[in-house]
Amino acid sequence: MSIDVSSAPVGGALSGRKGDRRVTVIRAPAFSFAGMLQQLTKLVEYRDLLYTLTVHRIKVRYKQSVLGLSWAILQPLSLMLIYTLIFSVVARMPSDDIPYPLFAYTGLLPWTYFSTALSTATNGLVSHSHLVTKVYFPREILPVTYVLAALFDFLIASLVLAGLMIYYRAPITLNFLYVVPIILVLTIFALAMSLFMSAVQVRFRDVGVAMPLLLQVWMFATPIIYPLSAVPERLRPIYDLNPTVGVIEGFRNVLLQGTPPNFRALGASALVSLILLPLMYIYFKHVEATVADVV
């Protein structure tokens, strides 16, 4: 029996077709690019699980709640109302001459997507320890399904944004099509962070505990409830390092101003996300090899 032994994969299994049977070689984890590609083909093979698990995640989340799907809308909506009350009625916050409710909601919508994805995915591996220790499947499916379920919520909550935009007569131009690449960048970034956090969480549960605080700080470091123009110019070089800045500001620009996004800022976010995703995937796969022993 001949097996391709030229490359050792990350996290274990290497497969190759031989007739209708498949030869799998399981070895100690070691990094190789060929191994990484093999892992990705495994993920493709398990796409049905990815689909089923995402759908079930959405179903389960709303199955026993009275309000059901409207929770996806209520969360950013209630945050918007609170911030409007504070920053538009109590204190005066500049909002680039956009009605504050619309301004806040446009920031909160993508942010809620990101923070929901990250905070639920962080626990993704740990909360499925009963599966992880008993059945094999590409583990990255677990955090990824949380990101996809959050994306679904985002799409539902977008309906409210559409309503607000019509109500406040926001200028609708063809530039709104930029929303698609912007959300793609945000999704890539969310995936990278989710893979990383869920893997770290396996060994250090501190991550899950610290997550709400981290997200809170992160939110205030992103132009969501205040405009980017309010950030002092001298702080911008540091401020702009946060990948969510370019994304959220871009999202708001294309929808509310009808202008194209700031390509430099969005490009920086995209670059960071595209570098992080493979790195985090490799790290995740490294942890995956022994996750069943630790979780």
Binding site: R27, A28, A289
Partner: protein, 414 residues
Amino acid sequence: MIDLKFDLVTKKYLIRQEAPAGDSARHPLVRRLQNLRRPPQEFLAVKNVSFEVRRGEALGIIGHNGAGKSTVLKLLANITAPTSGEITIDGRLSALIEVGSGFHPELTGRENIYLSGSILGMRRRDIGGKLDSIIEFAGVRQFIDTPVKRYSSGMYVRLGFSIAAHLDPDILLLDEVLAVGDSAFQAKCLQRVKDLRQSGKTIIFISHDLSAVEKLCSRVLLMERGEVVASGAPAEVIAEYRRTANDFVPSGPPSWSNEQMSRRAEITSLDFYDAVGRETSTASTGSPVTVRLKYKSHEQIPDAIFEVFFYASNGELKCQLSTGLSHGRIDLEAGRGEVEFSCAELGLQVDTYYIDAAIQRHEPSELIDWQYRCAMFHVGAGKVSRGTFYMPHEWRITQERSVSSTESAELLLR
């Protein structure tokens, strides 16, 4: 055709020993950080294990708790990666381990079939095609659109197994899962596995249930402390396993204390001897065996009775022999002596036996000495094929030789 190959596979676990809480008065955080700095201890759950499984073979893996069986199972199922070595699997391997673990209580039976099925690696359209058969096998048609949290535990388990049983693997990995449901369902499951075997699938069965292993497997590996210590025909390896005393379940310590024994005489040793007088600890059913019991009596004891008890490895008393029943009266003189029990044809069946020996009196009732589990004795297969006991016996064959019936006599002898 080799379907599965373990090549010098080792799995090492690192265990971090925590400092005892009362060790120091330092802050718990300081102690935790110190724990992180301690070098972790290595534990080899599987040590350089190599074996091969041919296509269509049913391999059983047995061993005591902690012998490395479950680690082998996890390595095979790709749940955890080996530390070194290589595992080669030719074909699609499905593990049938703790079914139902992929269920979500809020989802209906039908939804859970899709969920659990895809976790086990089935495609959605395959699940769709097998849906009816899965529901039928589990016998839950009436409740298929009810959330599984309303299921009885039996229904839950049956549905879980039914999904797993509908996987179509080349190699099937079985855990203790056959012990699910009621006996009717168990029989159905066993039949399913047998069918799979018949259709040429390779099966790996990891279990404590020795009789199931013996029934199902064509070859058995015995693991001990992370290594394969024996491999071969099921009956032989299982007997070997039973010989290693660790699985012995004692029937409980004797209910009498030392004070209840007068110790006017004491048993000093008990040994077994084979047909030619060599000391041994093994024999086979139907072969001659001699037991020699040495004692020391501190005074004259009239009408003493010697008894020898044979307990099977499951703790069950199989045989109690008493000089009070099969020998005449014994009056002990002060001093040392020897009691010999010899048996021309050993009646005990294949197993490992634990021996108690006692000296007592009946009238008046007195327990003089009782040596609890003082010897171990292994009986291997001999002049008996099946059944619960052996009886001493002889065969005699009479044949009528006539010219015309030679052929039929030969036929009879065949």
